[in-house]
């Protein structure tokens, strides 16, 4: 699944925040390479800099120093409009608090990235439908986020992240607001997406057991620095559809 050419290359990336006279190094000189198709878990305690690092990789923030190359482009150097285009076309984002817009229906939320990408109306409906089927929420498309359970909301958010067919999916504590059963289901879904669509997934979590169960590589951060970086062979060997049988048919369909 993985190839040797790195998809993301972070070189000596630092992100410092200034609070009055003091400088807080949230991310301090991290270098990391991620290859296509990897499912990377960024582990670390609160304040370890894992979310900040994820934001830098996702193009939501810029490093104070260092370079982040994605497909040959340095995110630290491109202009804001190009960075927005990167977030829109190359990246999908999943958040801890789901971040579905409460005033829109699920389908409208999922459609939002397509509107931003100026995709034709006719094509939009089909792609929204397909993305919702992928996360088994087609029946709930007209519901508003408040009418959905936490797990459903997060699946909706994943559909929104997938609808623009990005090559990298970033997930910031995707199970943080979910109970263990729902959390496991979400990670199962991500794992299945990673294996079926060949997507690269970078996930921030503080739950080591889940990371070990699903991620193919575990990167640990502490105090803004890279502490460890180990492949997780057990997850890599585990079949993606082991506990996600219901998703199988829809996924296979979408993959065709």
């Amino acid at each position: 699944m993985t190839s040797t050419t790195p998809l993301i290359q972070a070189q000596n990336v630092s992100r410092h925040y200034h609070l009055g006279d003091s400088t807080i190094p949230a991310v301090n000189d991290i270098s990391l390479e991620i290859r296509p198709g990897e499912f990377v878990a960024l582990l670390g305690s609160s304040g370890s800099g894992k979310s900040t690092f994820l934001n830098l990789l996702a193009g939501l923030d810029r490093p104070t120093s260092g370079a982040i190359h994605v497909r040959g482009r340095n995110l630290a150097a491109i202009d804001p409009t190009e960075l927005a285009a990167y977030r829109r076309d190359t990246v999908g984002m999943v958040f801890q608090s789901f971040n579905l817009l409460p005033r829109m229906t699920l389908a409208e939320n999922v459609e939002l990235p397509l509107r931003l990408a100026e995709v034709d109306r006719a094509e939009r409906a089909a792609r929204v439908q397909s993305a919702l089927e992928h996360v088994r929420l087609a029946a709930r498309s007209r519901h508003r986020p408040a009418e959905l359970s936490g797990g459903e909301q997060q699946r909706g958010a994943i559909a929104r992240a997938l609808v623009n067919r990005p090559s990298i999916l970033f997930a910031d504590e995707p199970t943080g607001n979910l109970d263990s059963v729902n959390g496991e289901q979400i990670l199962q879904l991500l794992r299945e997406i990673q294996s079926s669509l060949g997507m690269t997934i970078i996930m921030v979590t503080h739950e080591r057991p889940l990371a070990e169960q699903f991620a193919t590589r575990i990167v640990t951060l502490g105090d803004g620095k890279l502490k460890s970086d180990t492949p997780n062979a057990s997850a890599a060997l585990q079949p993606a559809n082991a506990t996600a049988a219901p998703a199988q048919s829809a996924t296979a369909e979408a993959h065709q």
Partner: protein
């Protein structure tokens, strides 16, 4: 983002915070309404004034008399003085008669809409066994449109040659305490009629009657006889439309001009003319009213007529100062109206800045999903514009209603004073369109700062916001 998507999202966002956005939009609407109401009042009053002035015929008319002073001579009036004038002018150039040829000449002048004779005469009116001596005047057909007869009870003349009459209400009240009942009745006018007579046969032996005739007719051309004419009353009017018809009022019975001409009442000029013009029976006019397209053409037309050899008279300068007063008036009304709209635009700024605080997270999500700064800015801009547009439309509607209410109130007040109602507020299409455009522009300007601020939000910070 495509414009259609942008608009859709903007209206959706406005709909979601419906109460606050409605109140803000209402603020804009009230601002626009006050602007529209003020200006419509200005425009309305100006329109009313110029309508009244135009229909009064005082400001877009040139009164033409012959240099022989035809207007001065009443029936049987001074016969000597014109003769002296005649002698004077005979030395310089022949005096042109104010006749049909002259009238047609005036009508051909540039910027002249019509030239018609003043036909007014004294008559003995008889109805219901009462008999009264009053002034009658012929009204040109154009008076139908100028608004002179707007407040008529009954109808206007059915045709320009109808044997019909409209009475002034004061005169009608003298005839009957309930003037309305007079409509449809016949009134008889006895008046002095001008009759053309063949030149006297000198060979024929004269009796006393012939000699009397000669005395009356001056021995040739015309004679003046008493004549009765029956006219059907079609309407009663409170105001004096004859001011507009080219005289300076005073007539109490109004008849179609052509009918009046066919009645051939003896005019002051007739007496002068036949005394002077050595037996010529060609009819001349006492005075002509030359109506011009626009009051500003009056001077030019007046000069042209003077060059043709006639006396002229107009009330030109009065309109100019009136126009100045109205321009200043409009300016002030507009300023007050704009003030209200300025307050409303502060409301827009406030609403949008609040919306940014409230929708920080949404902006963060949009940016995380790939919205550019421009997308976010445009969205807020579109929302401001939409509020301006809706506020503008509602504002024009409210402003129009306020104007209607003012007109309504004024009319009631005027009716109590026994005066005819007037339309004091008027919203022309350019005012409506201009007010809406102004509201949109003001709203967009008000949205500039909030939109720029929203666009600059850092997505990470925005997403952290709860």
């Amino acid at each position: 983002m495509k414009t259609r998507d942008l608009t859709e999202l903007a209206f959706r966002n406005l709909r979601e915070a419906i109460l606050r956005n409605s109140l803000t939009t209402l603020g804009v609407a009230v601002g626009v309404a006050s602007l529209v109401a003020m200006l419509s009042l200005g425009v309305g009053l100006q329109t009313l004034a110029s309508q009244k002035l135009n229909s009064s015929g005082l400001f877009d008319a040139v009164y033409v008399t012959s240099k022989r002073g035809g207007m001065r001579g009443g029936p049987g009036g001074d016969g000597d003085r014109p003769r002296r004038n005649d002698e004077k002018s005979a030395k310089s150039e022949p005096v042109k008669p104010l006749d049909e040829t002259a009238r047609q000449e005036f009508e051909k002048l540039p910027n002249v809409t019509e030239a018609y004779p003043q036909v007014r005469f004294l008559t003995e009116a008889r109805l219901n066994g009462k008999s009264m001596s009053i002034g009658a005047i012929g009204m040109p057909d154009s008076s139908r449109k100028t608004g002179s007869f707007d407040n008529i009870a009954g109808k206007y003349f059915s045709s320009p040659t109808a044997d019909e009459a409209i009475l002034h209400s004061e005169f009608a009240k003298d005839l009957d305490p309930q003037p309305a009942s007079l409509v449809g009745k016949e009134i008889t006018l006895r008046y002095a009629q001008r009759q053309e007579t063949p030149p006297p046969d000198t060979n024929k032996p004269k009796d006393i009657d012939d000699e009397l005739d000669d005395m009356l007719s001056g021995g040739g051309g015309i004679s003046i006889v008493s004549h009765d004419k029956k006219l059907r009353i079609v309407g009663i009017i409170d105001t004096d439309p004859s001011i507009g018809a080219g005289g300076f009022g005073g007539a109490r019975i109004f008849i179609p001009l052509k009918t009046a001409q066919e009645m051939r009442p003896a005019q002051g000029g007739d007496v002068n003319e036949f005394v002077r013009a050595s037996g010529s029976a060609k009819p001349t006019y006492m005075a002509l009213t030359v109506r011009v397209k626009n009051p500003k053409n009056v001077t030019q037309v007046e000069d042209a007529i003077k060059k043709l050899g006639f006396n002229t008279f107009s009330l030109q300068d009065a309109t100019r100062s009136l126009r100045l007063v109205f321009t200043v008036f409009d300016l002030f009304l507009g300023l007050f109206g704009s003030l209200a709209l300025t307050v409303a635009s502060l409301g827009i700024i406030n609403t949008l800045v609040m919306a940014i605080l409230e929708r920080r997270r949404e902006i963060g999500v949009l940016k995380a999903l790939g919205a550019t700064d421009r997308d976010v800015r445009s969205l807020f801009f579109a929302e401001a514009g939409a509020m301006g547009l809706l506020g503008g439309i509602f504002g024009v509607a409210i402003g129009w209603l306020i104007g209607q209410a003012l007109t309504w109130g004024t009319t009631i007040y005027l009716k109590r004073q026994d005066l005819p109602g007037v339309k004091i507020s008027y919203v022309p299409w350019w005012l409506a369109a201009g007010a809406i455009a102004f509201a949109v522009i003001v709203s967009l300007v008000a949205g500039l700062y909030p939109a720029a601020r929203a666009a600059k939000l850092n997505p990470v910070e925005a997403l952290r916001y709860e």
